[in-house]
Amino acid sequence: MRDLVQLARPDSVAEVVALVGGFSGNISYIAGGTDMVIALEQGPRPDLVIDISRMQALNFIDADIDAIHIGAATPLSTLAEHHVLAAKLPVLTQAAGQVGSLQIRNRATIGGNIASAVPGGDLLPVLKCLDCRIEVLRRDKTTTIQAFDEVVTGLGKTSLGNGDIIAAITIPLQFGANRISAFGKIGRRRELAIARLNLALLADYDSSANRINDVRIVAGALGPVPLRLRSVERQLRGRTVDNTLADDFLQALTAAVDAAIPGRISQAYKRHAVMGLGLDLLQRLFAREFSWAGWAKAPA
């Protein structure tokens, strides 16, 4: 018989707050449990596990005119299959749809992805790229709204205190009708792969002028936390979308990888592979093929 852990399954956020307020030991929340169950097997046990997987109050997707609100316990498969989301923020549905396997996506949640803060977490670069706001209920019953960087602080590290819970994520809908976005990832296999490299891109694209007005690009798995690639953004801002842009984009990505992980064993691979990822993103964003000057030099 294994050591018993106290388990609670509250029905409402109010109950959660009441529960943690009066508890002095270590608290863990469990939603999908895709990381938690393994942690419980291997590591030190918390004194109290609070199961929020069935809490309907934390499982929702609401779309406003200017923002999307997502409950922390919303499963990734729900995100991946959400039509409004797919239309407004394809970067998010694409990322959610590529996490783990279908079985994992059915369990894993957006809040859990943030709280685990694993370097290969597919949603993390997306949430940073979209400049999301994270609503945290503190143990002292206060609610704070924080930026992504304020919550995810390092490799597996967050600013969440014992008993704090992520309640919801708000994503502003920037750039109006000009908004385009996409996500790409390289794993070792198609499914169940923990990302070795991923990219999230959000842009203000004037389709009549075929010009990128503004852009945000964030890479995952290039460091302990998602990394904003400002040098790459500079290459794209104000540019006409054509093959020259594609070339400059890929070169800038390679340079960004070189700058991010100099001397790492994985550098040689990632500096090359990131070009494939970049091309995938362009094709996804603009729904057309891009030729690339590198082909001329590529082996026959």
């Binding site: 296999r189 499914e191 090359h272 030099k297 082996p299 026959a300």
Partner: protein, 752 residues
């Protein structure tokens, strides 16, 4: 035929999917104790001090075992008959630890939780020794030691096998072209769904009962006897349902310890490994480095071949003595080559031990030879299919080294039919397409054995008894590893006796009631055990007809079996049910039963040709296998659906071997990097290509109903076929498996 060539669903399928079947870890045993092992964190070290006092003092701990209080008998876990010779280098708890994951101690406690916690309190101090982690370093080390003349067992090659026929040197001298390759294959893991597990308990008469998912109950008995010093007569072994093995459970790893703990503590004891322990402290497929040179003339005839293989068998010999020979055989059973020189050497390294793994050396040697052959074809500018057809053996050819016949060997049919079906000629000559994603096609041939003949007591004894309800009891040490071999055997018996396969009861596989058997190994189930049960069923049929001839007052020649009855033909039609016949015979104190021992007299080759198409992303290095055709010469498919299942599974494993799987030993400290599924990648369902299977059923005269083996060979050609396709797509000569995206980019990026 009624039951042969029919896709009968696997007999225990329903019980498995419904959860009704009890695996070893599911067994409820009263008073069962649980075990946690402590493993070496050093790659090579002497134990200076071990302190188990704190662990022993934990309430609920019943026993703590280590080298100081357990028998130090040397044994080799590979043996499967009593007087078999093999280097005995393993002990239950060695004083000198030879790999990270070697066994230091064990805590046996009332609960798993207590055992886990107490094991963490054991303190070990090591005196570290120099370690080697690969075959090249081991070879150099052994050469140094040989010069000093003071080499211990661990400082010498485990085995060296050399064969020579023809005049290789002369052939190399007159060749138009010699193509040389170095091919490396990784250490890989079986990844059976069920982790290693064992239960042992004292019986009322003092013997120890071992319940174990194994491949040979007798191997378990002999290995445990050697390791513990308990006589085999005091050990009773019963096979439990097995949740996958692929060779991983061919060697008893936990059984000696478990039996010893149960005997010492006089309580039932279980050892159940978790996934990480199964990865790091059981067995693997050996890593091989092959230096191969093939000499050809301009029109594509192979004149001679020189193969030098270095095998890293890990920290203990286990079956490492057989590997060089086993690999060499495969080189002589598929192409007609006038001269060959072969040298195979296996070496100890301070890495986890290798053992049996689906194909036993064949996946390694075929990767080496088939990747090289494609390279030869490329250099000749010749279609690899045409090149192979110029050199493949023909039916009833013989192995030039042993002189053994290869039987109705239909590899040429496999290649010819497969290339037509795959539209090989057009797809190959189309070459790789330009752009970012390049496509290519590749193929590979393979052969594998059918049983252990001419060595190792290649025989199976079976007993069939007609029950009084008209069903049959089959007593035979049959180890179905989950592949459905029992289903196939039931079909064979059912065919002979015209009885429903569902009426056959497979009796417990128990050392107490079964005749000695080698167990499941060497692709011998359908071919050897199948023929054994066929002959037993034929003998039983004669007995049934003899008994019925008295009951039906009719000559045996006028009787025939059908649907559980003996019928009398002709004008005086009549019948007696098998149930009634058995009951009447029982009333006369006679049992209707037959026992036969079948001894093999041949070892034909099974053959296969696989064809793959891949798409390689030249930017990310990702490889996708987009189309696949497997053609197999198996004499006859007793159960086509099970055959297809074996082939699909074999391709999944072979794909992993080609693209993903690698135990990957850390060269700094000997740690296993690929010790969990997030780091040891299998090909998952989304990676699987559409697979088409084509069977060449041309009857092997020595097999039951013409059948030959398919289980092991299915996993042999996929890796070279896929690697050859990658090399076709990229115009490269990648030879280091697995071909990871990183390795592809490493070879492509200098060009860019």
């Amino acid at each position: 035929m009624k039951h042969i060539s029919s896709s009968l669903p696997i007999l225990d399928g329903y019980d498995k999917v419904s959860g009704r079947l009890c695996f070893t870890a599911d067994l409820k045993v009263e008073g069962l104790l649980h075990t946690k092992l402590v493993f070496s964190s050093a790659a090579h070290a002497k134990i200076r001090r071990i302190d188990v006092d704190a662990a022993g003092a934990v309430p609920g701990v019943i026993g703590v075992f280590h080298h100081g209080n357990t028998p130090g008998n040397s044994y080799n876990s590979t043996i499967w008959f009593e007087d078999q010779e093999a280097p005995e280098d393993e002990t239950m708890f060695p004083r000198v630890l030879r790999h990270v994951g070697d066994r230091v101690a064990a805590v046996v406690a009332e609960t798993q939780e207590i055992a886990d916690r107490a094991a963490g309190l054991i303190e070990v101090e090591y005196d570290c020794l120099p370690a080697v982690f690969d075959a090249l370093a081991a070879r150099d080390f052994c050469e140094e030691m040989a010069a000093s003349d003071r080499a211990s067992m661990f400082e010498k090659p485990v085995d060296e096998t050399i064969f020579d026929y023809g005049n290789t040197e002369a052939a190399f001298n007159r060749a138009d072209l010699i193509v040389e390759d170095t091919v490396t294959t990784p250490k890989t893991h079986h990844c059976a769904m069920e982790n290693h597990v064992c239960i042992a308990m004292p019986e009322t008469d003092g013997r120890i009962l071992i319940l174990t998912p194994c491949q040979s109950i007798f191997a378990v008995q002999f290995v445990v006897a050697r390791a513990t010093g308990v006589p085999a007569s005091q050990l009773r072994v019963v096979k439990t349902p097995i949740g996958g093995s692929f060779g991983g459970k061919a060697e008893p790893v936990l059984d000696p310890l478990c039996a010893w703990f149960a005997k010492t503590l006089q309580r039932p004891v279980s050892i159940a490994f978790n996934r990480g322990e199964t990865f790091t402290a059981t067995r693997t497929r050996s890593k091989a480095i092959g230096y191969i040179q093939t000499a050809v003339n301009r029109d594509g005839r192979i004149l001679a071949r020189d193969t030098d293989v270095l095998i890293d068998v890990g920290a203990y010999c286990t079956g490492g003595i057989f590997l060089p020979t086993s690999m060499s055989q495969r080189l002589c059973r598929i192409y007609n080559i006038d001269s060959q020189h072969y040298r195979g050497r296996s070496f100890y390294t301070n890495t986890l031990p290798s053992g049996a793994y689906r194909g036993y050396g064949s996946p390694q040697i075929h990767a080496i030879s088939e990747i090289n052959l494609d390279h030869v074809a490329r250099r000749l500018g010749m279609d690899p299919v045409k090149f192979r057809l110029k050199n493949l053996i023909r039916p009833n050819d013989a192995d030039p080294v042993t002189g053994l016949g290869l039987g109705n060997a239909r590899i040429r049919d496999c290649v010819e039919q497969g290339s037509v079906h795959f539209d090989w000629g057009n797809r190959w000559s189309a070459g790789s397409t330009g752009g970012r994603r390049k496509r290519g096609v590749g193929m590979a041939c393979a052969t594998h054995i059918n049983g252990c003949f001419p060595g190792f007591h290649e025989a199976t004894t079976a007993t069939l008894r007609l029950r009084e309800d008209g069903g049959l009891d089959l007593t035979c040490a049959l180890h179905d590893l989950g592949c459905g071999s029992n289903t196939v055997l039931a079909q064979i018996i059912a065919e002979v006796l015209d009885i429903s396969p569902a009426r056959i009861v497979f009796c417990e596989v128990d050392t107490e009631i079964c005749e000695y058997d080698l167990g499941t190994r060497a692709s011998r189930m359908t071919y050897i055990a199948g023929e054994a049960v066929r002959q037993t069923a034929e003998r039983l049929k004669q007995q049934i007809l003899a008994a019925a001839s008295l009951e039906l007052n009719s000559a045996v020649a006028d009787l025939f079996l059908g649907d559980g009855y003996v019928h009398r033909g002709g004008v005086h039609e009549g019948a007696i049910s098998l149930a009634e016949l058995a009951a009447r015979e029982a009333g006369r104190d006679r049992s209707v039963s037959a026992t036969e021992t079948y001894r093999a007299s041949a070892n034909p080759g099974s053959y296969a040709a696989h064809f793959a198409e891949v798409e390689v992303d030249t930017l990310t290095g990702a490889v996708q296998v987009v189309d696949y055709l497997a053609v197999h010469d198996l004499g006859r498919a007793i159960n086509p659906q099970l055959v297809e299942g074996q082939i699909h599974g074999g391709i999944q494993m072979g794909m992993g071997y080609a693209l993903f799987e690698d135990i990957d030993i850390d060269a700094d400290n000997g740690r296993v990097k690929g010790d969990r599924f997030s780091r040891y990648h299998l090909a998952n369902a989304p990676e699987m290509p559409p697979v088409e299977v084509l069977l060449v059923e041309n009857n092997e005269p020595t097999g039951p109903y013409g059948a030959k083996a398919v289980g092991e060979i299915a996993t042999i050609p996929p890796a070279p076929a896929i690697v050859n396709a990658i090399n076709h797509a990229l115009d490269t000569n990648l030879t280091e498996l697995p071909i990871t995206p990183q390795r592809i980019i490493d070879v492509l990026s200098p060009v860019l």
